[in-house]
């Protein structure tokens, strides 16, 4: 219980992450194009790695309130979590980013005691979640991705039921429901049966259920999935205000925009493992300079892509070139100086290579993901969608 590390939490926060990274030598430059196939490389770029360890913003955030250490979970032959290490500081909005199937929901379900991991440890403050699940449940509010509502009961009755399950006094439940109904603007429809609620109403009721017992930690799994833009922004505003009041919010999302807008810090998961962690702005800044995307043709051949990679690797000021096979061998890299684009254009011309498309942009979280995994989040989503058996997953999630 309460295993405080003597070297302090700032150093300790990413210790597991660091140890894991030390086992590899992620020398990204100089790799042949063929080696950029995603599964062979699970390391973030050196820039991401360094950044995630020495983030000055980290020091502004609180002590870790959640710690997952070496958490593993498999569903039959499918490994959902492959030794996940994660630390979430208190008083912040922490985003778990990753494509569907990356292990986000599994990690959250383990934290919320709905699933037992195959291995690893989970701590909530000084509570060993696996040994004292009931204590942990008292401290957290969980808003699941597809939270079921009792269609026959009204929202108010649902909240009263949950108040009783959290052992609140009856008068306290009544007061709290009135308070939440006003704050989340639920009054006009709270007495209607839940079966008649829209997606936005359901989400608000879910959130109210999670907040009913005033938990210091709120865990939200894809909180804005299926919501329209207006509802999404309204929910974001609520989450920001909750953070302002001292709550720690851990949310999972596969929407880059959402994590970018909300999260003070984030962890990127891919295939059940942590691939990068840190404040979004610094993860992006660590990529260095401007992001350049180059396509020689609509579908560039492997040979031509290799040729360009060879050119880029000789060019000073170019970092982290990646061939994105899912996008017709488009080549992405970061240029320290925008003038490098002109140099490159000339070099391509000299080598008789055409330019189908050449674009410049500021680095995004998708670039962070691309840099770490060799594919964009969208590509990962599509690849995962083809392999997932949602029916089997639903069965697996049943108690």
């Amino acid at each position: 219980m309460g295993r405080r590390r003597p070297w302090g939490w700032v150093a300790g926060r990413h210790q597991g992450f660091l140890n894991k990274r030390r086992r590899f030598l992620p020398c990204l430059k100089g790799r042949p194009v063929a080696s950029w196939k995603r599964p062979t490389q699970r390391e973030p770029s050196p820039a991401l790695r360094i950044l995630s360890l020495d983030s000055p913003t980290v020091e502004l955030l609180g002590r870790p309130v959640i710690r997952l250490e070496g958490v593993r979970k498999s569903y039959g032959a499918v490994q959902a979590l492959a030794g996940l290490d994660l630390e979430v500081p208190s008083g912040c909005i922490y985003g778990l980013l990753g494509p569907n199937g990356a292990g986000k929901t599994t990690a959250l379900r383990i934290l919320c005691t709905l699933l037992a991991p195959d291995a690893g440890q989970v701590w909530l403050d000084d509570i060993d979640v696996l040994a004292q699940p009931r204590l942990a449940r008292r401290r957290l509010g969980y808003v699941a991705q597809d939270a079921a509502l009792d269609k026959i009961l009204s929202g108010r009755e649902m909240l009263h039921l949950h108040g009783a399950l959290y052992h609140l006094r009856r008068d306290a439940i009544r007061r709290r429901v009135v308070e939440l109904a006003a704050q989340l603007d639920m009054d006009p429809w709270l007495d209607r049966p839940c079966g008649a609620y829209s997606g936005g109403m359901r989400r608000r009721l879910d959130l109210a259920t999670g907040l009913l017992h005033r938990p210091p930690l709120l865990v939200l799994d894809e909180p804005t999935a299926g919501l329209d833009v207006e509802s999404r922004h309204a929910l974001w505003a609520v989450l920001r205000q909750l953070k302002g009041e001292g709550a720690t919010i851990l949310l999972s999302s596969h929407h880059l925009e959402e994590v970018n807008a909300l999260a003070d810090e984030l962890a990127i998961l891919d295939q059940g493992a942590l691939i990068a962690a840190g404040p979004p702005s610094q993860l992006k800044a660590a990529l260095g300079g401007e992001r350049i995307t180059l396509k020689l043709r609509e579908f560039t051949s492997d040979e031509e892509a290799s040729q360009v990679m060879a050119l880029l690797q000789q060019q000073a000021g170019v970092s982290q070139p990646v061939v994105n096979r899912a996008q017709g061998n488009a080549i992405s890299f970061f240029a320290r100086d925008a003038r490098l684009v002109e140099v490159l254009r000339q070099q391509l011309q000299d080598h008789g290579l055409p330019i189908f498309c050449l674009s410049q942009s500021q680095p995004s979280l998708d670039d962070v993901y691309l840099q770490a995994t060799g594919r964009t989040l969208m590509d990962a989503e599509l690849a995962m969608a083809a392999t997932r058996d949602t029916k089997a997953e639903q069965k697996a999630s049943m108690r």
């Binding site: 308070e179 006003a182 608000r204 207006e230 009041e245 069965k395």
Partner: protein, 290 residues
């Protein structure tokens, strides 16, 4: 979703809102809340209750009419078929109701509502099972009372006060045993289709292979053996006995091929069965709810 930004819900902990109840008080609070939910569902969708009364009532009326002209001496003690049938239909009503106990739990599993309950810091997760058992027992009680009333109106009699106590005891034990079985199935089977299949397959054969519709003497030997081993017969015969006279624990109520069974023995068998079933589903419940 508009108008949410003015005041975000506070997360400041306020321990004074906690009920401060003892462990048993907390179990009671959560069990009552969960049972209350099931009764609210029943109140708004009373179809289950109505169907649960109508089905045995139709059996009582139609089967009673079918064998109304049965030759005298066919039934032991010279009973009319209506008198004979009542006990069987009463037990069948309670049995059918209890066999459905697992359905709400199965739907909660399938729709994810069970997970929502399990995130809460329940003092005992068995309160979910207890709430289902309480609900089904009450529901079966109401349905059985309705059938007993209907049987009385049809002229099939009403037990004495002490006989009524035996009826309640027998039905309670039977409902507990079958509820345990059904809840176990609800956690063991993968979905409601499978559970419904088991219910459909079990329901009528168990009724026919019991003494609900005909006495043992009327059956071929193999069926008489089956019926004499069927737990439903151990519930039907004591009730039939108290409909025909004052209860006596040592009265032989079932002349089974393997020997005579007294009223007391029937209750003991039912109690043992209920205990055994609840004990056998405990590991499964611990695995699913623990």
């Amino acid at each position: 979703m508009t108008g949410l930004t003015a005041n975000a819900p506070s997360t400041a902990p306020r321990p004074s809102e906690d009920s401060g109840a003892s462990a048993w008080g907390e179990v009671l609070q959560e069990t009552l809340a969960l049972t209350g939910r099931l009764f609210l569902q029943l109140q708004r969708r009373p179809t289950t209750l109505v169907a649960g009364v109508l089905q045995p009532l139709i059996w009582l009326v139609l089967f009673g009419a079918l064998f109304q002209e049965a030759p005298e001496g066919l039934l032991p003690g010279g009973l009319s078929y209506g008198h004979f049938l009542s006990a069987g239909i009463i037990v069948f009503t309670a049995f059918s109701g209890a066999l459905n106990a697992g359905l709400p739990v199965m739907f909660d599993r399938e729709f994810g509502f069970l997970n929502r309950l399990l995130v809460a810091p329940l003092r005992s997760r068995y309160s979910i099972v207890l709430a289902s058992a309480l609900y089904i027992t009450s529901l079966s009680g109401v349905q059985t009372l309705a059938i007993m009333g209907a049987a009385a109106i049809l002229g099939n009699g009403w037990p004495s006060a002490s006989g009524l106590v035996v009826v309640v005891m027998v039905l309670l034990l039977l409902v507990l045993a079958v509820t345990g079985l059904s809840l176990g199935l609800a956690f063991a089977l993968p979905g409601h289709i499978e559970l419904l299949a088991v219910i459909f397959v079990a329901n009528l054969p168990l009724l026919f292979a019991s003494t609900a519709l005909a006495p043992l003497s009327f059956m071929p030997p193999w069926l008489a053996w089956l019926a004499a081993l069927n737990p439903l017969s151990f519930a039907i015969e004591p009730i039939r006995a108290v409909y025909n006279g004052a209860p006596n624990w040592s009265t032989v109520v079932l002349a089974a091929p393997y020997g005579s069974v007294t009223m007391g023995a029937c209750l003991l068998v039912l109690a043992g069965l209920a205990g055994l079933l609840f004990l056998s589903i405990r590991p499964l419940l611990r695995r699913r709810l623990g």
